[in-house]
Point group: C4
Chain length 245, copies 4
Amino acid sequence: MVWERRTEWPLVVAALMFLLGYALPILDPGVPPALRSGCTVILAATWLVFVVDFLGRIWFAERRGHYLVRHLPDLLVLAVPILRPLRLLRLLVLVKVLNRQAGNALRGRVAIYVGAAAVTVIFCAALAVLDAERGRPGANIATFGDAAWWAVTTVMTVGYGDRYPVTVEGRFVAVGLMVAGIALIGVVTASFATWLIDKVRQVEAESRAATSADVNALRTEMTALREQLALRADESTGNGSTQKP
Amino acid sequence: MVWERRTEWPLVVAALMFLLGYALPILDPGVPPALRSGCTVILAATWLVFVVDFLGRIWFAERRGHYLVRHLPDLLVLAVPILRPLRLLRLLVLVKVLNRQAGNALRGRVAIYVGAAAVTVIFCAALAVLDAERGRPGANIATFGDAAWWAVTTVMTVGYGDRYPVTVEGRFVAVGLMVAGIALIGVVTASFATWLIDKVRQVEAESRAATSADVNALRTEMTALREQLALRADESTGNGSTQKP
Amino acid sequence: MVWERRTEWPLVVAALMFLLGYALPILDPGVPPALRSGCTVILAATWLVFVVDFLGRIWFAERRGHYLVRHLPDLLVLAVPILRPLRLLRLLVLVKVLNRQAGNALRGRVAIYVGAAAVTVIFCAALAVLDAERGRPGANIATFGDAAWWAVTTVMTVGYGDRYPVTVEGRFVAVGLMVAGIALIGVVTASFATWLIDKVRQVEAESRAATSADVNALRTEMTALREQLALRADESTGNGSTQKP
Amino acid sequence: MVWERRTEWPLVVAALMFLLGYALPILDPGVPPALRSGCTVILAATWLVFVVDFLGRIWFAERRGHYLVRHLPDLLVLAVPILRPLRLLRLLVLVKVLNRQAGNALRGRVAIYVGAAAVTVIFCAALAVLDAERGRPGANIATFGDAAWWAVTTVMTVGYGDRYPVTVEGRFVAVGLMVAGIALIGVVTASFATWLIDKVRQVEAESRAATSADVNALRTEMTALREQLALRADESTGNGSTQKP
């Protein structure tokens, strides 16, 4: 817990640095070699930060083996180079931090989270697919504009087919995007459903269900009645011990 | 409140005028120059109406700064020329006005609102994309029929890919349409879900939950019993002060 | 009511005849002229049956004007030739009749109804789009196999774009199909949602809510107590009129 | 029941063998003739196993005719050669077996089941469509990579249209995949909806509905009160028979 709280902001900074080092050579293929080397250094440095954070979290976990098994995806993202773009998803922590300020209304928080997550996922997927596709034979995604447009049509499950990945890496990015799209549709639909159910329920709510509290109040009244009765019995007969419950 | 009620109908008229001035040069590219100038004048006049309405709403707001922050999108639509087509969404007010006449059944109102909003959004998006795409190199949307057909396939997330925008403006229109489409699917699904849940609940409803009213009636009965008991006690013992609760 | 019950089976027969007369010239463009004329006669005859049924329903309606307004779509389908394929939707009555035999489980009935309705709608849409598209310049739907394949990809909102309508009539068929597809997804999702909610509720159901019946039983007990008390008061004091509630 | 439990693991083995014999000649069209014959033998052997299992299940069923009617799809999969790929769905039993180990949380089990089922269905559909399409005139699915990519875009209802089936067999595979896709979206959406409803409900849960148990406790108290009252009546009047309830 302490580790997670302390590392939150450093990890946000590292994710932003990673975004810079990852996005720059992709967005501008003609960057000077010095800047490109700088980006490589940044990527290595942020990778180190993420590894240290992961080791720290395992170290402070109560059941280390259990924690490792449950966070296997985090390990894979750190260890397998091809999963590198997924490190950008660390930026979702930023959404979480910002969201904490945003107050308490559950539905509003879901809306902000979904919106920010969708933008983050689309941006990262566009970068990753551009990295995978540009310059490959038969590829039709050549600029960041094309890549972002393709990412939007994919995540919304529209899929015009004017742009689509042709490489294996690009297709894996697409699969991830589609899964995110299905989840997005699911969350949006679910939000509308709960909103509508609430509206309908409010109309019905004038006949409120009796709560345990209502019944308990009744019970207190009942106990008072029994005591009153027992008292009277004592007064009229004189023996107050047999009728006490 | 008073401002909103008073400006409702003028705004509907302004939105319809805006629709006329916006749609005419798009639907018929060969309009005579005089008519085209007239449309430009209408667009400027309706813009003024919208600006005055916005200033009025801020003026009469209780917390002006707060109101401005919450209605930032309205400000952007008025200030940024490229967001101009969004002013057509003012027509949704018309749906709201008509809907007020339509009675009280929540689900029916949702259906009418969704249907009218979908038609309005599709029509406006078709106009906007036609304006953005026609005559551009590589564009495949050249007539209003094509644009409307493209808008329908997009909002339904079908996306055949026989028509698609190629300009940046057109793609932004598409993103807006897709978001509307996801919301549309969400609302339709949610409506079916609540309808089905209601149907299932009606079958189960023969064992109605006890309401607070039921329990309160019981409590009144209980109080009457205690008073009856206290009265009897008074009669038989003669001292009516000690047992009153 | 009587009219609706009496005309149910004749209408099913008329719809099947209409299907025959409508589908035959579409499925086999090379039918001999005699058969083609026969189909035209069948279409006219079934049209008469539908008109007579509509007039009868208005005649026996309690509030005729109100009925006419509410069934305006039926009138349009009968009066406007281009809406003719929609008469095939009469076959959905068959689903309703068959469904009545199928017993009472709500969810099962929804599944059967949705499945049968989907197949009917896809079949009718494939016929209508083939009728609209075949032989037109630039059309890519030329056989019933193509049309059915296109209808399935459309209703499922997949939309590969290998086949798509290019005529106005065909595009209207497509819009109807897409709306049906959105409704289909909505119903399927809603069914899963209610099923899952029921499963979750069953787990929680061990603490059943108190029903009105429970509370009413308690109230009867209370009334009995008050009468018992009143009886005892009569016995001990001798005056039985003042304490009766 | 005993038959089902005893045959579970043999059927899993048979399904894996069937997968081997079915997938090998499809994945590598250039297998030596000896291996190809071996695969044919394996397919025949596993078919025999499935037939024996089906006969056994009918034999041990309580109402054999009823069982046969309800499991007609199983019979069709065994009898009709073109439905052969559906035998691969036997592998879903494996998911069921693994799932039994996975504990009790309903939502977690749904997630695992949906994920595993989606992967199985996509893999089997890719094999089946590759078998149907490869080498046909006009086909654009020629490798397993293409087939898997097509299957994913179809099940997610994205449908770019860069790959699509052109044969009747391939299109039937596609229809099955799309139905699975709609079901997948439905389940995912429903899961989010129930999760969100639960979250909202937890916030509201501080006013818990009164249960039957609460009311019954109250009733016991009431009965005790009446007995107490009857006892006192006996003591004061001396005749204990008339006032017992």
